[in-house]
């Protein structure tokens, strides 16, 4: 139970942080064009193809007492980030980054550019255009982004194991707990936890698809009549 709560807490923290970082990032990638943009796009998509151990390894090094982030953390908080909840959050944010940014980019790009032009010509600043036009028209994309990053963080294993280790109540998440139980032949407990994760994932994903279908259809109807 403790492991599950930890997992949910981690996933919630990561989704919120990712939404805050991902929104300006996606805006930038969707609406700005510059020569080196493809490099940034590749970096954003990197966690999709990288083995979690590779990502976890480099994050561990970076967070460690000799790594750049670890040093900053030591200087500010007088403690390192490796094998802590904070370290887990850092690693998970990197690992789930594409799951937030990609749906956001897709939904920003789907908005008719002329709506943004119209907003500007009516005197609106970029910020107001974002808040009054882009955001409300991207709600399905935002929901998808949040839920996908939540579910993805909930289910991650390799990165957590590399960066967080297996400290009960601190870094032992549900997926690690299942691995542990299987290692010690506690199949009944492993099954219980696995089933809970399965159900949560399914419920969350069907919610996304359900909401998207309803909102999506209405928005499509809007564009189609134009």
């Amino acid at each position: 139970m403790e492991a599950l709560i930890l997992s949910v807490r981690l996933a919630a923290c990561v989704s919120v942080i990712l939404l805050l970082i991902g929104m300006p990032m996606a805006y930038w990638l969707a609406y700005w064009n510059w020569r080196g943009k493809f490099l940034l796009e590749a970096i954003v998509a990197l966690p999709l193809v990288l083995p979690p151990t590779v990502l976890g390894f480099y994050v561990l090094i970076a967070l460690g007492p000799h790594g750049p982030i670890g040093k900053i953390s030591e200087a500010v908080f007088h403690r390192g980030l490796a094998f802590t909840f904070g370290g887990l959050v850092c690693a998970s944010v990197l690992y789930s980054f594409p799951f937030t940014v990609q749906p956001l980019i897709a939904s920003f790009e789907a908005i008719d550019r002329r709506l943004l032009d119209a907003s500007a010509l009516l005197g609106a600043s970029r910020l107001r255009t974002f808040g009054s036009v882009i955001l409300p028209l991207s709600i399905p994309g935002i929901i998808t982004a949040v839920v996908l990053s939540f579910a993805h963080t909930l289910g991650e294993f390799g990165v957590v194991l590399m960066v967080g280790g297996n400290l009960p109540g601190i870094t032992r998440t549900a997926s690690i707990d299942i691995y542990d139980r299987v290692q010690s032949m506690e199949y009944a407990e492993a099954n219980r936890m696995a089933l809970v994760l399965l159900i949560i994932s399914f419920v969350v994903l069907s919610a996304v698809y359900g909401i998207n279908r309803r909102i999506g259809r209405r928005l499509w109807a809007t564009w189609a009549t134009r």
Partner: protein
């Protein structure tokens, strides 16, 4: 308020290269637009929308200058470039771009964020009334009919008291009656505001219906300006003739010039048929293009005599097609079937002449209905 004395005339000089998959051109023009409606006419791809986008600040020209009523909005040399949000230019796109998630009221109020709420509500009400959509105030923008959307789009862009209005084929999809009533509302509104309005269209019918001064564009350049009659009824270029609705375009060679009579004769390349035209800037032997309106050609079922028309050409009806309330006859000349004239006929004329396919006829063309074009 000393600045109100300066008439809000738009002065612009622009140069912008566009290259696309289908065609490339360089927008290169200068214009002076007084208050009132000015039509920008030209075939699609002539650069009309590029011109509007440059004026609005959505596209950056390589060089140029834009000034309205003495205020400089763009001067590339002096690095002045007022952003679109600060230009106070209203622009109604072809797609209208109403915010689909907002009500009509919220759409119209969008450009009025900076004025206090009570005043804003009043202004919105005023604009909705001016364009006869006050009963739609609470409706969502995406639930409106085409004509209603056009009215809301006009109300929204004019609510901000712009100093220039750009219209990019906003009414093309509407039927004539609706178009007319919307234009009346726009004219009434502008009688008080007196700002320059640029109305872009590629439809000849729309130019005739609006009847304002017109600027003709092609390949990014202004090729003619004046009243619709002056500009479009005597075309000088074949691309313009096509756009202006000249159904008959022929290639020919000048065979004879009779300076004293003010006419010349042109032999059509594809047939043995010769046509008398007004004098053009062409020497004997040069290739020219002829443009003739299908509505300017008479048909006779017997060889006509005692006519002032100088061109009487025998032919045979190749096809007859009913379109709306008129017939379009394709008439092939006897000399060579390769020359086919399109002729417009009323239903009555078709019946009176008992026209049928393959019936022999005579085409009658006035000299001045045959326009000689330069390419």
């Amino acid at each position: 308020m000393g600045n109100e004395i300066i008439p809000p005339v738009l002065n612009a000089r622009l140069r912008k290269a566009r290259s696309g998959a289908t065609q490339s051109f360089v927008l290169d023009l200068s214009l002076e637009i007084p208050p009132g409606i000015t039509i920008v006419f030209g075939p699609s791809g002539a650069g009309k929308s590029t011109l509007l986008d440059c004026l609005a600040g959505l596209l950056k020209p390589e060089s140029g200058r834009i000034e309205i009523g003495g205020e400089v909005l763009l001067d590339v040399e002096r690095r002045i470039d007022v952003p679109p949000a600060k230009r106070k230019i209203a622009y109604v796109f072809q797609s209208l771009a109403l915010f689909p998630h907002m009500t009509v009221e919220q759409n119209v109020a969008y450009g009025l964020a900076e004025i206090p709420a009570p005043e804003r509500a009043l202004r919105v009400k005023e604009m909705l009334e001016a364009f006869h959509v006050e009963q739609l105030a609470k409706r969502k923008a995406d639930e409106l009919s085409g004509g209603e959307q056009q009215r809301v789009a006009l109300a929204r862009s004019l609510a901000t008291s712009p100093r220039l209005l750009l219209l990019d084929e906003p009414l093309t999809a509407l039927d004539e009656g609706l178009k007319k009533s919307i234009m009346e509302d726009l004219r009434r509104w502008n009688a008080a505001q007196n700002i320059p309005i640029l109305y872009v269209t590629h439809s000849r019918a729309e130019v005739d219906a609006l009847g304002e001064s017109v600027i003709v564009m092609d390949q990014g350049k202004i090729i003619s300006t004046g009243t619709p009659h002056e500009v479009l009824d005597t075309p000088r270029r074949s691309s313009l003739a096509q756009a202006a609705g000249f159904e008959n375009l022929f290639s020919g060679v000048v065979t004879e010039i009779r300076e004293g009579d003010g006419v010349m004769r042109v032999r059509l390349v594809s047939g043995a048929c010769e046509i008398e035209t007004p004098l053009g800037h062409a020497a004997t032997g040069t290739a020219v293009r002829l443009a003739i309106r299908a509505g300017d050609i008479l048909l006779a079922t017997e060889r006509p005599y005692g006519l002032s028309a100088r061109n009487v050409i025998p032919g045979r009806v190749a096809s007859l097609e009913l379109r709306g309330t008129m017939f379009i006859a394709q008439v092939a000349t006897n000399a060579d079937g390769a020359v086919v004239f399109a002729v417009h006929l009323t239903l009555g004329a078709k019946h009176a002449l008992e026209l049928e396919v393959s019936r022999p006829v005579w085409l009658v063309l006035k000299t001045h209905s045959c326009h000689v074009l330069q390419d």
